[in-house]
Symmetry: C2
Subunit: 209 residues, 2 copies
């Protein structure tokens, strides 16, 4: 059965999944790289990285996916829909290797990249986008890739089967909130927390049946 | 050296230290008892309770204190300043056993209770209140007892030496936010996180020297 999953989604102690303002130079705003240092230190990120609990979680980002859905803010900096030459942050061989659906109010023609990634642009609700992505995933899982607003919207719509969030011990103070509108999420999801020697805490949300 | 400490202060995943609305029947609003179930299960709370990491942290609430400072919302439900007969939630022998300073814009005469607790009512800034409480503490530590707004204000003012917060895996959605106004708190405090089999995560903040 194809599942919908979130992996390696970092959030500050005060619940922000991104800082502000987001720009070409600072995709996560004033958060800089601080939400993801735990991940850069893993073998998942590079061959010199460490194994251990952070790596064990991080590795799950890659396995078993047939499609990704991401928000407009993950695909590019503010204003990218006005730039017909924008092809994403990731160069000509993006790390998705599947059909990848970008939610945007400004759809354009699909972009076929190297390595199996094709970007499709959809102006659709979470449920509609998931139906399209599921059909493209060939029986494999669909990753909800972020950013914060997209993770929040898919959780709020009850469309996520499994979510891995990583609480990083920093207080951002401002940015995009992940938890807003998710009151009583614990009624729908079993929540496990495990802290790591790196200082982060891995949260695993598994939808109750 | 007398320290200023916060202990056993529970906060939801989305950063609320209390639900809403607060009332005589529901001191934590719609949060009910859910922020404190981890504590009720410890030996700190009762002789049938469990030992373990939750209890080890909870026990630190009691030792070495000569005074407590609390906010008006901890002392009573909304409207208590209009009721001259209100003597706190805790009956005639409150669990403080020290001078206890209640921050309020409606001061009244001190209330001497049994067991060593005397409530003093102060209309003062955090720094002013801490000076008074420190003088009354006889060289022992001062506890910042909450609620959320008081913990936040003392942290923001840089007056807290050590804070123990407990992240409970629920999403409250509304109430009083603990982390607001504390951007970059990690620059001033070393943060340790340790998760417990009960599901909560203990955060320890230690002021950097």
């Amino acid at each position: 059965m194809s599942r919908t999953r979130v992996h390696n989604f970092a959030v500050s102690l005060d619940g922000f999944g991104s800082g502000e303002p987001q720009s070409l130079e600072a995709p996560f705003g004033h958060a800089g790289q601080r939400l993801h240092e735990w991940m850069f230190a893993t073998r998942f990120w590079g061959p010199e990285g460490a194994t251990g609990v952070d790596d064990a979680f991080a590795q799950q980002h890659g396995a078993g996916f047939g499609a990704e859905i991401m928000g407009a803010n993950k695909f590019g900096p503010p204003g990218w829909p006005d730039d017909p030459a924008w092809r994403g942050w990731w160069g000509e061989d993006p790390p998705f290797h599947t059909p990848t659906f970008v939610l945007t109010h400004h759809p354009r023609e699909p972009l076929e990249m190297a390595g199996g990634t094709t970007f499709h642009f959809l102006d659709a609700s979470p449920a509609e986008a998931l139906e399209v992505a599921r059909a493209a995933a060939g029986g494999l899982d669909v990753r909800i890739g972020g950013g914060a607003a997209v993770v929040r919207d898919f959780l709020a719509a009850g469309l996520v089967d499994h979510a891995h969030l990583v609480v990083v011990p920093i207080v951002l103070g401002r940015g995009t909130r992940v938890w807003d509108g998710l009151e009583a999420l614990e009624d729908a999801y079993a929540v496990e927390a495990v802290s790591s020697p790196s200082g982060v805490t891995h949260l695993t949300l598994t939808r109750r049946r």
